[in-house]
């Protein structure tokens, strides 16, 4: 595998850090544990997302897929285990150093979570808030010119540069999800965690979003993990498929080796748990 084309600053940085990108996965989760009162959700989860490519994450409802991703981006606090982004541990860290290490992982949500009343461009710019001082970010009017240009470039990569000035509410669901991807790009993330990104979209929009994600993963060297509900989509778009059952890794396989038995076991395990 060659050095990433360097379209994103993050992609280049991965190559700088390690001579062989495949040696260090972009995201490496080991023995991750998380319980909510009365319920263990992650029971020692191991998960590896390689530096380039799309990993589909399958699992029954409640198997802990969302919780695992939320632990990585800091929306949940893990009870134990290890999460490494580009080889750097983030569990147990806090403050600036944690923010710095985590800044290269972005999350895409099923419910998209854009700010509806703001323009597409302002929403994409918001991806950069973590690296902007307050004097350049208190209101969108203060966003620096270079940031706007970078955001336009991100919008171009998701094919929505012509909608930059529109209010988000005027876009379709699929378009909004692509804006969310652009926001992640503007964050300069090279690890993109997508939690059921197409579950709320119609098939055509779902195809577009997944094609975009797999293009970013294969063509532009991002590490993408996408929770999917349909194994067919996983077979079609993923470079690797992992299954979660009861908070543990059930399998990690190439899509062409994904068997019906794997799937039956996976979803049967989910029923057993609930």
């Amino acid at each position: 595998m060659s050095v990433s084309p360097g379209r994103s600053a993050g992609g280049t940085a991965v190559a700088d850090r390690s001579p062989s990108p495949e040696a260090v996965p972009s995201l490496s989760i080991t023995g991750l544990r998380k319980s909510f009162p009365g319920r263990t959700v992650l029971a020692g989860l191991d998960l590896r997302i390689p530096a380039r490519g799309l990993v589909a994450v399958l699992g029954a409802n409640g198997s802990g897929k969302s919780t695992a991703l939320r632990c990585v981006v800091g929306l949940e606090q893990p009870d134990g285990g290890s999460i490494r982004l580009h080889g750097e541990e983030i569990v147990g860290l806090s403050g600036r150093e944690l923010a710095r290490r985590r800044s290269r992982a972005a999350m895409i949500f099923q419910k998209i979570h854009l700010v509806q009343r703001r323009t597409v461009l302002d929403n994409v710019c918001a991806g950069a808030l973590g690296r902007l001082p307050l004097r350049h970010s208190l209101v969108p009017a203060l966003f620096p010119r270079e940031l706007r240009e970078e955001a336009m470039e991100c919008l171009h990569r998701v094919g929505l540069a012509d909608r930059a000035g529109d209010t988000v509410g005027r876009l379709s669901g699929g378009q909004q999800q692509r804006v969310a991807v652009a926001r992640a790009l503007c964050q300069r993330a090279d690890v993109v965690l997508a939690d059921e990104p197409v579950a709320a979209l119609d098939p055509a929009a779902a195809t577009q979003v997944l094609e975009l994600l797999s293009d970013l993963a294969r063509g532009q060297g991002l590490a993408v993990a996408a929770v999917l509900h349909q194994p067919e989509l996983a077979r079609r778009y993923a470079d690797r498929v992992v299954g979660l059952a009861r908070g543990r890794l059930a399998f990690d396989t190439a899509p062409e080796h994904l068997s019906e038995r794997d799937l039956d076991d996976l979803y049967a395990a989910g029923e057993g748990a609930s």
Partner: protein, 299 residues
Amino acid sequence: MTWDTRGPAAGDPFTPDRGSGLAAVAAGNPGERRGAVPGPPPRRRSPSALGAAVVTVLVALHVLAWQGTGFSPADLVRGWRGMADFIGEAIPPDLSWPVLGPGIQAALVTLYIGLLGTTFSVPFALVLAVLGARTTAPNRWIYQAARSLLSFLRAVPDVVFALIFVTAVGLGPFAGVLALIFHNTGVMGKLWSEAMEEIDLGPRDALRTNGAGGVQVVAHAILPAVVPQFIGLLLYRFDVNVRSSLVLGLVGAGGIGFLVNQSIKLFRFDQMATHLLIVLVLVIGVDLLSAAVRRRITV
């Protein structure tokens, strides 16, 4: 991440699910006991006994209140002559320019007091609302402190603030402005913090994962979601504050309330009637304006 919020705001529409959950548990206990032994139906003694007790206490309270306030319809009837004199003197109102001109000017002052009192309370209300909303508070201690301060400012009536500031800065509209700033900060801060607690938290979480700080999250995820509610509440408070500033005038804080008070003291009820007419026009005007704007925002 969320924490319990038991405090001065017991009646808040905070966590309806939790409230109903507690109610369900409370109601469920006797039911379970009954269900354990299928037998005679439960007696309905307690609800009606409780009801009777409540009614008795309420009636007793009203009797005490009747006596305590010297409530006396007979006095009102006996005093009809005084009322008639009063109305007779008030009608027709003195609409001569020497009365009308200063009246209109004073009404403008009243409007200005309401305007400045509302506008200058915005920054304070905003800060306290952000610190006092569960969705945006940095931690529970700051949250509790902000809530307490808002409760205090809300609990002290603006008239009391006005009396305090009249002694500090002297008679006049400035004392009224200060009084409104303080009281309105308390009321609007609470209304705004409630508006912020009701929004969808998804965009907030999304920006947090972007690495945005607390102020950035408020500026780019929370506030954009509540701007229409904020403006609506602001206009509503402006409306209320203009009417309040009238009362503040009665205690010496300038404006047309001051003239009403003066004309009563001088027994010039015809002038008082003029002033009240001006007040009526002012209040209706502000009310119509703010209602019209609010309707445009919400639609």
